[in-house]
């Protein structure tokens, strides 16, 4: 008994040490303050939204009480939350890999992983939104009991999502994929409003009412589901242990794709283009960004089409993140992706100017290929936004890419592109936050200037962003040469950090 407690105690202690020694805590005080500040702003936004929500719901659904309107959408909210979890929430399995070869009972490890998984930001952040909302609507206008019941129901629904997500991480990949697909189909057809929308909203509202009136059966059913899912996850973990220790054979590596062949045939740059393509398609973290793109192609034009707030042109600055295509996400970490083999690059006769220029051409082409369908759809659905978005595209692949390259050279962070990122902070730094902010807010400045021009604001924005984009595209040989000089200047420092 003592031994078992000692193991659990050690596991908990190691968790704490690994948290304290995590990458983001090794940063400078300024960067940590900035990251903390950003987190506070995000929580503040949620809290503010929670405070405003009763008023908004009253405006949208004047015939219903705010909490009733909210409960009609309750399950939608949790489905969205589940989607976020399925994409980002991870099983904290790295904590135990070292213990697999030690004489520690696997059920202790499995129990530890499951209990450790509950200490997750995903189980907390929604309360920043819901606490003020429940307080303003239920505590003050229904009853304190209804407030506490709603909190309990929220906790159980959130826990159910947690149990589903963790279960998916432990069950065989094929089963998890099937369940994910089924969930998304369900979401698309029913929650997406294609079929039975009124019935589903009514069911969601009744569930909310049952929760705040404290009907025990609702709580019992939810709790039972959570327990069953956790037990299944517990069993699934045992099978996963063998996978983690590499007992299963790996599938064969994919062959050279036709795209890779095509890229390789390009003179001068083909050699590096093929390498770049292999880098982003054969590494888990890198490929993650690429596979999200089909969703963006559909979601962005639809978002503009429905334009829920009726002023899409005002937040065009956010589009800078999407308009550059994959390059925006990838170039934030430029050179860190190659950190694992940069000794080879540095020891071979490679013209750094050509190497960097080839990278720029690659992401410029990829950005154009990714943004073209979005532009096409926006041109059909919201023709007035076509030119502003096109301007933002040129701006993203022009000055923003140049800025990302220049700041990327300064980053000596080592990244393993084959390690799934999710919300993994590896490689993320306060500097990168700043880089993203600067990229977006520079568009805001141009938007401000556009007000002063003798054109409609959208035309002004399209002109300013488009022209500055073109200037950087046309002068790329000059600034890519500057990037390569800067990289050579920082070579020893970066190589040292890449090796560490």
């Amino acid at each position: 008994m003592m031994l078992k407690h000692a193991i659990v105690w050690n596991l908990l202690k190691h968790s704490w040490i690994s948290f304290r020694r995590a990458h983001y805590f090794q940063r400078s005080l300024g960067i940590r303050v900035l990251m903390g500040f950003t987190a506070m702003i995000l929580l503040g936004y949620l809290y503010g939204a929670g405070m405003m929500l009763p008023v908004l719901l009253q405006n949208f659904f004047p015939e219903q009480l705010p909490h009733e309107a909210f409960f009609s959408l309750w399950l939608y909210l949790y489905f969205a939350e589940l989607t976020v979890r399925l994409v980002f929430q991870k099983l904290p399995r790295q904590m135990v890999q070292a213990y697999l070869t030690l004489p520690v009972k696997r059920r202790i490890l499995a129990g530890y992983i499951l209990s450790r998984s509950w200490f997750s930001i995903y189980n907390v952040y929604l309360y920043a939104l819901l606490l003020p909302f429940y307080y303003r609507t239920l505590y003050l206008h229904v009853s304190p009991a209804a407030f506490w019941m709603a909190l309990l129901g929220t906790f159980l629904l959130s826990s159910l999502n947690h149990a589903i997500t963790i279960g998916m991480r432990t069950w065989p990949a094929r089963l998890s994929r099937t369940i994910t697909l089924a969930l998304f189909l369900f979401g698309f057809v029913i929650l997406g409003g294609i079929l039975y929308i009124a019935e589903f909203m009514e069911f969601s509202r009744q569930l909310g009412q049952a929760v705040i009136s404290g009907q025990p059966m609702v709580f019992i059913i939810l709790l039972s589901l959570i327990i069953v899912l956790q037990l299944l996850a517990f069993r699934g973990l045992f099978a996963s242990f063998y996978e983690w220790s590499g007992a299963h054979s790996r599938p064969g590596a994919p062959g050279r794709s036709s795209i890779a062949r095509f890229l390789a045939a390009v003179p001068v740059y083909g050699l590096y283009w093929e390498l770049e393509w292999q880098l982003i398609t054969r590494n888990k973290r890198a490929v993650g960004g690429l596979t999200q793109w089909p969703w963006i192609i559909i979601a962005l034009p639809l978002f503009f089409y429905f334009d829920p707030f009726g002023d899409a042109e005002r937040y065009m600055y956010l589009m800078v993140m999407a308009a550059g295509g994959y390059g925006f996400a990838h170039l934030q970490y430029v050179f860190s992706w190659e950190s694992r083999f940069f000794d080879l690059i540095a020891a071979r006769k490679i013209d750094m100017e050509v190497f960097i220029r080839s990278k720029y051409y690659f992401y410029l082409t990829l950005g154009a290929a990714q943004t073209s369908p979005v532009l096409l759809l926006v041109g059909v659905l919201r023709p007035d936004l076509f030119w502003p978005l096109f301007g933002i595209f040129l701006y993203a692949v022009g000055p923003v890419f140049a800025y990302l390259f220049l700041t990327g050279v300064n980053s000596s962070t080592r990244i393993n592109p084959n390690k799934k990122a999710g919300f993994n902070p590896e490689g993320t730094s306060g500097t990168l936050f700043l880089v993203i902010f600067v990229s977006m807010f520079s568009v805001l400045i141009l938007q401000g200037i556009a007000y002063l021009l003798p054109f409609a604001q959208k035309t002004g924005l399209a002109l300013l962003t488009g022209l500055s984009g073109l200037v950087f595209i046309l002068t790329h040989r000059w600034w890519t040469a500057a990037v390569s000089k800067k990289f050579v200047f920082r070579k020893y420092h970066n190589l040292k950090k890449y090796r560490e």
């Binding site: 790996r250 064969g252 590596a253 050279r256 050699l271 390498l275 292999q278 880098l279 054969r282 590494n283 694992r340 083999f341 940069f342 000794d343 080879l344 540095a346 020891a347 071979r348 006769k349 490679i350 592109p417 084959n418 020893y492 190589l495 040292k496 890449y498 090796r499």
Partner: protein, 234 residues
């Protein structure tokens, strides 16, 4: 071929390498030996211009390595896994490396045929990324990539590590044959003195970044170095 002049590398207060003068003759096979922390890898990284010296200079063909990189076109090297692109298959890696030295895929295939027995059917055609291969096969991949480009200067750090006994015999044979046929200058580090004594015509012993013995073989007795290690162990 290589001239090291007043070379020093310090990490903070600690000097990892302090080398007044060292000449490596064209066509020689020089073995660098020393215990952990002796400065072998630091020396190789300085020669390959991967780290900045605190002072001093390395010259290859009378050109300082930091001033221009013409030496890269005739230098093959493999120090560790930082020289491997782990998401490529070995064939792709060989083709990529070959192209950097101006070789097309056909020429690369031709050169690879020399190393078929060394790779023992476990590297090529395995349908595996380098990252999924065993340490021994990754080591073979790195060594072959460095050698197949027919460099005038070959630098290998601990090439016998992770290799099975047959592969160790093979690599020694390949290194000797290459040196005899093309007069390749080789710089090889190892903890294993027996291996080095078999192939090298010079052995340099490092201790805490300094050269403490410089033996010419077969004139000098490599047992001198063996005795040094025995004394260190006592």
């Amino acid at each position: 071929m290589i001239h090291i002049h007043k070379l020093k590398k310090a990490y903070g207060e600690q000097f990892a390498l302090t080398m007044e003068e060292l000449q490596i003759a064209e066509g020689s096979i020089t073995g660098i030996v020393g215990n952990n922390g002796a400065g072998k890898t630091t020396l190789f990284r300085l020669i390959l211009d991967l780290i900045e010296p605190t002072s001093g200079e390395v010259f290859i063909d009378n050109e300082p390595v930091r001033a221009n990189d013409s030496w890269k076109s005739f230098t093959g090297s493999y120090l560790d896994e930082g020289f491997l692109i782990d998401f490529l298959k070995p064939e792709e890696y060989f083709y990529f490396t070959g192209k950097l030295y101006g070789m097309d895929e056909q020429a690369t295939d031709q050169r690879l045929s020399i190393y078929t027995r060394f790779m023992a059917g476990e590297v090529l055609g395995q349908d595996k990324f380098i990252r999924d291969m065993s340490s021994g096969n990754r080591q073979k991949t790195g060594i072959v990539a460095a050698m197949m480009v027919e460099p005038r200067l070959l630098i290998l750090d601990e090439p016998f590590n992770y290799l099975d006994p047959s592969s160790q015999i093979w690599i020694k044979r390949l290194l000797k044959e290459d040196n005899e046929a093309r007069k390749t200058t080789m710089l090889i580090s190892s903890h294993n003195l027996t291996h080095l004594a078999e192939i090298c015509n010079r052995i340099v012993l490092l201790e805490r970044g300094r050269v403490i013995k410089d033996l010419s073989l077969p004139a000098d007795d490599p047992a001198e170095v063996e005795r040094y290690f025995s004394m260190q162990a006592e």
